[in-house]
């Protein structure tokens, strides 16, 4: 297998890093990773690739897979405060007792309009959360996710919803399904 002791093979690592950049950017964007944290994720994955270069047979797929995994771990560990604020606010709005029917109808209609711009999977997940009042375990059961992974999927959908609400110009979210696992 290749080693890094020769200049031409060192070059091949650099070429690989350059070529894989568009795919890695897509992964980071799909996972809504803030750029300041993306630097840590990228650096850690790329350094591990450097140290293990001789033992990895498909470096590009290894690198993409590792970055994806790190993105999943990222969301497992934290939840953005802005996303949390949006989520709590919507849950509060939906839970207001004795709100006039018209207000409720308008709220539901506005919420559905925003959700319609999200990917199918996020739309379904958030409809269960907000529309049906399901908790994480019930959402996981309904959507066929493992209970252990529902939190990170929900976090990613909330990040997408927050972006739709706060960003200038409503772009439709790409139909990229959040991964289970």
């Amino acid at each position: 297998m290749a080693t890094l002791d020769h200049p031409e093979l060192r070059e091949s690592l650099n070429i690989l890093l350059k070529n894989s950049r568009p795919r890695l950017e897509r992964v980071l964007r799909n996972f809504e990773i803030p750029p300041e944290d993306a630097e840590d994720i990228l650096q850690d994955a790329q350094l591990t690739l450097l140290y293990k270069w001789d033992k990895i047979r498909s470096p590009e797929s290894w690198l993409i897979g590792t970055v994806k995994k790190k993105c999943i771990m990222y969301w497992r560990k934290r939840r953005g405060s802005l996303c949390e604020a949006v989520d709590t606010a919507i849950l509060d709005l939906l839970a207001v007792p004795q709100a006039p029917d018209q207000e409720k109808t308008e709220l539901t209609s506005d919420l559905n309009r925003v959700l319609a711009r999200l990917s199918t999977r996020c739309r379904s997940l958030l409809k269960l959360r907000y529309g049906m009042g399901y908790g994480p375990t019930e959402v996981a059961e309904q959507m066929g996710y493992r209970t252990s992974s529902i939190r990170k999927v929900t976090n990613r959908c909330l990040a997408a919803l927050t972006r739709q609400l706060l960003a200038v110009g409503f772009d439709r979210e790409p139909e990229v399904e959040p991964q289970d696992g």
């Binding site: 990228l42 350094l47 960003a167």
Partner: protein
């Protein structure tokens, strides 16, 4: 649309500094698609621009790359320097504070050497792997990254455990594998690193006839090989399954898995594995009575045996040739080959193998009706009894054989039974030693 919230409130919302009720009002307003307020809130969204992140990562990789290349250049000389010392001194040299041996590049080379020596000289492999463990455990986590250092320590413990397994020291091997798994849990989570340890453990379970556990691990390795686009790893797992199916007395399934595995592995990067796979495939073909296929495979594999060139592989090649010659009735040729191999196995203190090979010789004498040679063979087996890796039950089986030889009452059936018993008791013994902990 309701009145717009004050810009200050929008900013405080964006910064996560607004109270719960305020958040609710802003979100309700934003749900109405207020483009004007979004002009304010969008500033607080992280911009998903990764240019700076990529550039910073690239700079760091380049700087570490230069350091790693320098370490690897030095590693060869360091290894020669260290191996020139007696083992005890080697340990002192690597464990003293500020040791210049504690680099990633040197540790890798040491572990590769330990792995390489595994089957040729297991005792030496254990020594090298022990030093590898010492070095890996002392690597600077700040310089190389804590999780990566943990991965390398896991690899070192795994290689040590594997060398101990090859020496039939199953109890110690199991402890080493447990250490490897502990390190993996604190590592990067790299599936390939984990798969290597699983391969070692599968061999270990296989030696102890714990086939279900071994096959479960191998299924996971196959899955990792597929997912990571690594056909070599996938092939390795199939070959290992083939080895274990052979041990489990299912030669047909073993032949299938070995053949499939051989198609997937990269022979250039792991010729030793390919030799081992071809060797076992030949053996199972011969045991299934498919001598023609076995001989053809043996002929085609012969150059690779020479290329690999280690003594154990060549020794096993001669043993295999002797077995096939015996099965084809070429007794003189077979005896000559087996006698040579027997002598070397005894010299290497590989008692079980020497005992099993003596029983192959006994088969020739029984078939050929040579009772005088049979008696002499039984007498010559005494040094094997003294070998350190033979345990009490196996002594008993060999003793029965020796007595039968003295009384000229050895039959092919007895030889088959003693051979089967020896193979089985080797696994049972290791199993018992595991349960006795």
């Amino acid at each position: 649309m309701d009145k717009h919230p004050h810009r200050k409130l929008l900013s405080r919302f964006g910064l996560g500094k607004l109270h719960r009720r305020g958040n609710r009002e802003i979100v309700r307003h934003l749900l109405e698609d207020c483009e004007e307020c979004r002009q304010v809130t969008s500033r607080y969204l992280p911009k998903l621009e990764y240019g700076t992140a990529f550039e910073a990562a690239q700079r760091e990789v380049e700087s570490r790359q230069a350091q790693l290349v320098a370490e690897r250049v030095d590693a060869g000389e360091l290894l020669r320097e260290l191996l020139a010392q007696p083992f005890e001194r080697q340990e002192i040299l690597v464990t003293q504070e500020g040791s210049h041996y504690c680099t990633w590049g040197f540790c890798e080379l040491l572990l590769d050497a330990a792995r390489e020596w595994g089957f040729q000289d297991p005792a030496r492999a254990i020594e090298l792997a022990r030093i590898g463990v010492e070095v890996a455990e002392r690597l600077d986590a700040g310089a190389y990254g804590r999780t990566r250092v943990r991965d390398l320590a896991a690899r070192a413990w795994g290689i040590l455990g594997n060398a101990q397994r090859i020496r039939d020291d199953f109890r110690t091997a199991e402890k080493s594998f447990a250490q490897a798994e502990l390190r993996l849990r604190e590592g990067t989570g790299d599936p390939l690193e984990k798969a290597q340890i699983q391969l070692f453990k599968a061999s270990h379970f296989g030696n102890q006839q714990r086939f279900r556990e071994a096959f479960r691990l191998l299924d996971r390795v196959v899955a990792v090989g597929r997912r990571c686009g690594d056909p070599h790893l996938w092939g390795k797992a199939l070959i290992m399954r083939g080895f274990l199916l052979g041990l489990a007395n299912d030669p047909e399934a073993a032949i299938r898995h070995l053949s499939e595995g051989l198609q997937k592995v990269d022979s250039a990067s792991d010729p030793r594995l390919v030799v081992a796979a071809q060797h076992n495939l030949t053996l199972y073909l011969a045991e299934s009575g498919r001598y023609g296929e076995a001989l053809r495979l043996l002929e085609s594999a012969r150059p690779l045996y020479r290329q690999v060139g280690d003594q154990m592989s060549l020794l096993r090649l001669r043993w295999l040739e002797g077995k096939i010659a015996s099965a084809l009735g070429h007794y003189r040729e077979s005896e000559e080959l087996l006698r040579g191999v027997q002598k070397e196995l005894i010299e290497r203190e590989l008692g079980y193998d020497a005992a099993l090979l003596s029983l192959d010789l006994a088969t020739i004498y029984a078939r050929d009706g040579r009772s005088a040679e049979m008696r002499r063979l039984a007498e010559e087996m005494l040094p094997i009894f003294k070998s350190q890796d033979i345990h009490r039950e196996a002594f008993a089986a060999l003793f029965v054989f020796q007595k039968a030889a003295e009384m000229e009452r050895v039959t092919l059936g007895l030889i088959r039974d003693v051979t089967g018993y020896l193979k089985e008791s080797r696994a049972t013994w290791s199993q018992r030693s595991r349960q006795a902990r």
